[in-house]
Amino acid sequence: MTQTDAVTSHLHEEKRSTVLKRSLRTLAPLWTLLALMLFFSLASESFLRPINLNNILVQISTLAILGAGMTFVLLTGQIDLSIASMVTLVGIINAHMFVNMGIPEPWPSLAAVGVATLLGLLSGLATTRFRIPSFMSTLAMSLIASGLATWISQGRTFFKISEVAAFLGSGRIGGPDGLRVLTVVAALCLLVSFLVLRYTRFGRYIYMTGANPSGARLAGVNTNLIFTAALAISGFCGGLAGLVNMGRLGSAQPQVIDSFMIDTIGAVVLGGTSLNGGRGGIIQTVIGLLIYGTLRNGLDNIQQLDPFMKEFITGVVLMGALIINLLFSGRSVRDRT
């Protein structure tokens, strides 16, 4: 018996070192972020100024709201391709009710966010009831949402927006130099998501369902409910981001800004949340968002740069960052079992 004990304690030591390695891995995106910030602060004088740092936060706020919802979805191992269309649809519904129908706030905003949540829920039901992969159900939902937006707006842009949307998108708290409301909304979204995922039973179910769906079912978790809830949460976040985005632009356009979807998924995955589910979280998403923001903003701050090169450079840096993440996570190393 003593010999087996010796072996198991050895095994245990080995595991402890892998735990240490694992925590080093999760820091890889943080190193990427620090390296980018160091680079841009050396390459550009204006980058580190408080006003510019504040700019970065404003620039990533919409993305952050979407990213909070996307984190739930990716953690369950699903994906939501409909968020960009949700952003558009919410703006149109709000503006249509407010401008064309003359319904006072807060009803247009509540209705718009409600519709986005409902559509997310429907994607979830399609995924769980009819076993349509979320990749397809949310893609179809994306067309439904953008189609509704085009139909309702008849292709026209609304240039008048409600006071609620204006407040969310361009208001400030505490005078003209105060905090931007949209940054606060984004921070709240991330905070609430963080608390839910880290500390609630629901959060645990999200992680466990993503890590091993059949295992979660065998432990009595209603995984269908979890998948559906994650997509509904993402729909809700899409709705909130829609209001914020509309307020920021000062108009509601029927055209879908496709980059929202790619940028959101990109930022969340870049932070280290796995596309396969079960690994990652809001802290990772925050780091991913900051990497994204730093890169976009930093390139704008380098005067000598050919503006037509920016997208190319962004792509190259993203690819590099993903490879580094993967190298550190040991995933590219051949599995030894």
Partner: protein, 495 residues
């Protein structure tokens, strides 16, 4: 046999992982036309040695001598090019491709035009299979054949790619007894007729005694002994493996006086079973035995709401489930289910305590589960079933198979159920771990729970059951009391 030089020899192999020594001064040799078995408990170093043999690990101390030359394998591919082929426990087959395609995977014969030469491929595959005594249609997808045939296909693929030395890792763990027989015959055939040399790794000592010429026993990363199979016995092997004598018998049955039926299955029919009637009393272990595909595993799943049934009733302690119930309902009514697949039911990367608290997280932690509360719930049950090491924070994937199984069982006693349904509780475990897991089940029985042990291993069912129910092709064919003189052969004859 020992007068000729060995075809393969390992001398003084030492392999360390960080501070952990997995193998120390291990010697191993293999002669042409010999089957040399490798046995030992989980964690004894078998897998490490196998990975060195097959070229997965190439950093170690010691000598690897093949055909009298010192070599160091660069990779499994390098190993194969030198004639060392590996057949893994989990087969490397493509179920959707045809048998012939699987046999020629990656080296299909081509026609002059450069397209796949189907005719030659099918013909050669058919001939080679026939030489081994298998007459099957090689054009059908492999998935249409039972696991035993899939394994033969894999063996043939490895042989046709030039392997003189075959390393077989637990080749029979998922096979039915008839398939095991055929595989043993195949291995013996390969050795004597085809002059292949075979390294055979298995937990099943009966099998080892039948196929092996010599047996090497590893314990704690060292050689314990290498013995001729004809000069040893199963009992001797067990004591060599364990380093101590095996526990004589498991605790005996408790004499329950008042009968109380906890689980009652009436006329249950579904996709994989028909008209099943079964009662389970408090303080009783019923063994549900059948071959793979007999429907007993699906029946167990149906009890837990995870396999659809069309008619009949399932009653737990007086409560009858509706036809469409979920695992959640089953748990609420006091059912605990341990699946035959630990990989499917456990969260290997997650901490032990999280694996344990998941089914009853609501009871344990309420809306906001706290780390302290969860560990306080997990630690006592881990101690109760003796998980080694008893560290609630370690990922469950770091435990040995037996200890993982204990975790899979322990998760249900944080909030005690009435009935345990345990599928294949001891698959792939060494003797010591098996006994430990089985005595946990016996303890449950003695405490008055009802336990249903669902298994395709006759030993497991015979070891713990008060009553044995035999299933075959979806139907219950026999039910007998386990009085102690019941033999494995008797049980297998019933099917």
């Amino acid at each position: 046999m020992s007068d000729t030089p060995p075809i393969l020899e390992l001398r003084q192999i030492t392999k360390r992982f960080g501070g952990l020594t997995a193998l120390e001064d291990v010697n191993f040799d293999l002669h042409v036309g010999e089957t040399h078995a490798l046995v030992g408990e989980n964690g004894a170093g078998k897998s490490t040695l196998m990975r060195i043999l097959s070229g997965v690990y190439n950093e170690y101390d010691g000598d690897y001598i093949l055909d009298g030359q010192h070599i160091r394998l660069a990779s499994p591919r390098d190993a194969l090019s030198r004639g060392i082929g590996m057949i893994h426990q989990e087969l490397n087959v493509m179920p959707e491709l045809s048998v012939a395609e699987n046999i020629f995977l990656g080296r299909q014969p081509l026609t002059a035009m450069g397209s796949v030469d189907w005719r030659t491929m099918n013909r050669v595959a058919e001939e080679e299979l026939r030489k081994l005594g298998f007459n099957i249609n090689v054009r059908l997808p492999l998935e249409q054949y039972p696991l035993g045939i899939q394994q033969v296909t894999e063996v043939l693929r490895v042989i046709l790619s030039g392997a003189r030395i075959l390393i077989m890792d637990e080749p029979t763990s998922a096979l039915s007894p008839a398939e095991v027989e055929r595989l043993i015959q195949l291995v013996n055939d390969l050795r004597s007729r085809h002059k292949r040399s075979i390294i055979y790794i298995s937990h099943f000592l009966d099998e080892v005694m039948r196929v092996a010429d010599r047996v090497t026993v590893l314990r704690d990363g060292r050689n314990v002994a290498t013995v001729n199979a004809t000069e040893t016995s199963k009992t001797q092997l067990i004591s060599l493996i364990l380093g101590r004598e095996m526990d004589a018998v498991l605790p005996s049955a408790s004499e329950s006086t008042a009968k109380r039926t906890l689980l009652s299955i009436k006329d249950l029919s579904g996709g994989a079973f028909e008209n099943v009637n079964l009662d389970l009393d408090a303080g009783e272990i019923v063994g549900l035995y059948g071959l793979f595909g007999a429907g007993h595993f699906d029946l167990a799943r149906a009890l837990f709401g995870m396999f659809r049934f069309d008619s009949g009733t399932i009653t737990i302690d007086g409560y009858s489930f509706p036809t469409n119930f979920t695992a959640r309902d089953a748990i609420k009514k006091g059912l605990a289910y341990v699946s035959e697949s630990r990989r499917k039911s456990l969260f290997m990367d997650e901490a032990n305590y999280r694996n344990i608290t998941l089914p009853h997280l609501g009871h344990i932690g309420g809306f906001w589960p706290s780390y302290a509360k969860e560990v306080a719930a997990a630690r006592p049950v881990m101690e109760m079933v003796n998980v080694q090491p008893c560290k609630p924070d370690n990922p469950v994937g770091t435990l040995s198979g037996g200890n993982q199984q204990k975790v899979a069982i322990a998760r249900w006693i944080t909030y005690p159920p009435k009935v345990f349904v345990v599928s294949e509780p001891t698959r792939g475990m060494d003797v010591g771990a098996k006994n430990e897991v089985l005595s946990i089940l016996v303890n449950f029985r003695n405490q008055g729970y009802g336990v249903l042990v669902v298994s395709s291993e006759p030993e497991t069912v015979l070891a713990v059951s008060d009553r044995i129910v035999v299933m075959s092709r979806g139907k219950i064919v026999s039910e007998l009391a386990n009085t102690g003189d019941l033999q494995k052969e008797a049980l297998m004859r019933l099917i």
